[in-house]
């Protein structure tokens, strides 16, 4: 089936440094998402992105977070600066439509901030 690819699978970074998580969504999808999952807890919505713009973000999407998808390249989540509480697995997802439609998830990037 359709695949969402996430690079890297693991990332260890010093607190205060910048990190960029990369996502290659399903090729014809128009809606892109980031979710955060702390170990043993439920997945929580961070942000969705459509037509080059952030459409919706949660309170977890702090000012230090940003997303973009320059034409033909990855959909990225950038955290600058990172904090210890940013340690989690970040899942990228994409869908063809916004409402009531299958959302495809990547395998996640495990981010560890030390």
């Amino acid at each position: 089936g359709p695949k969402v690819l996430q690079i890297p699978s693991h990332q260890i970074i010093d607190m205060g440094q910048m990190v960029t998580l990369n996502c290659d969504p399903v090729s014809n999808h128009l809606y892109f998402y980031w979710y955060k999952q702390i170990l043993g807890q439920q997945m929580e919505f961070l942000v969705n992105f459509y037509n080059g713009k952030v459409m919706e973000k949660s309170k977890l999407f702090k000012d230090q977070f940003s997303v973009e998808r320059p034409d033909g390249s990855y959909f990225t989540l950038k955290i600058q600066p990172t904090a210890l509480e940013d340690s989690a697995v970040y899942f990228c997802a994409s869908s063809w439509e916004g409402d009531n439609t299958e959302v495809f998830f990547g395998k996640g990037t495990r981010l560890t901030v030390v």
């Binding site: 969402v4 809606y31 998402y33 979710y35 807890q41 439920q42 997945m43 929580e44 919505f45 969705n48 459409m55 919706e56 949660s58 899942f91 997802a93 869908s95 916004g98 409402d99 009531n100 299958e102 959302v103 495809f104 998830f105 990547g106 395998k107 996640g108």
Partner: protein, 113 residues
């Protein structure tokens, strides 16, 4: 309030048995309820979904039931197989301009051979 509660947290069943997972929610604007299956090291994958206009949807061994009045949904797996061992998440969303999925906390299912 946007919250989805899921139970049980973990469940062990014997091969061939029936698995029942349940979720409840509070936000009456939710109208789309997918169930996701996640294996270790993988991302969640859509298993089955239901819209609030329906009360039942079946796909092979998997059936999801929806009770709008009680704001509850459930996932039934008949003839459970060891390969069904995974974490299952229910989720909900509202088609009101919000595309975010609100996830339950997950049920870790183990099917013993």
């Amino acid at each position: 309030q946007q919250q989805v509660r899921q139970s049980p947290q973990s469940l062990t069943v014997w091969e061939g048995g029936t698995t029942v997972l349940t979720c409840s929610y509070e936000d009456s604007t939710f109208n789309y309820f997918p169930w996701y299956q996640q294996f270790p090291g993988e991302g969640p994958a859509l298993l089955i979904s239901i819209l609030s206009v329906s009360d039942k949807k079946e796909d092979g061994r998997f059936t999801t039931f929806f009770n709008k009045r009680e704001k509850k949904l459930s996932l039934h797996i008949i003839d459970s197989q060891p390969g069904d061992s995974a974490t299952y998440f229910c989720a909900a969303s509202a088609s009101s301009g919000s595309w975010q999925l609100i996830f339950g906390s997950g049920t870790q299912l183990t099917v013993m051979p």
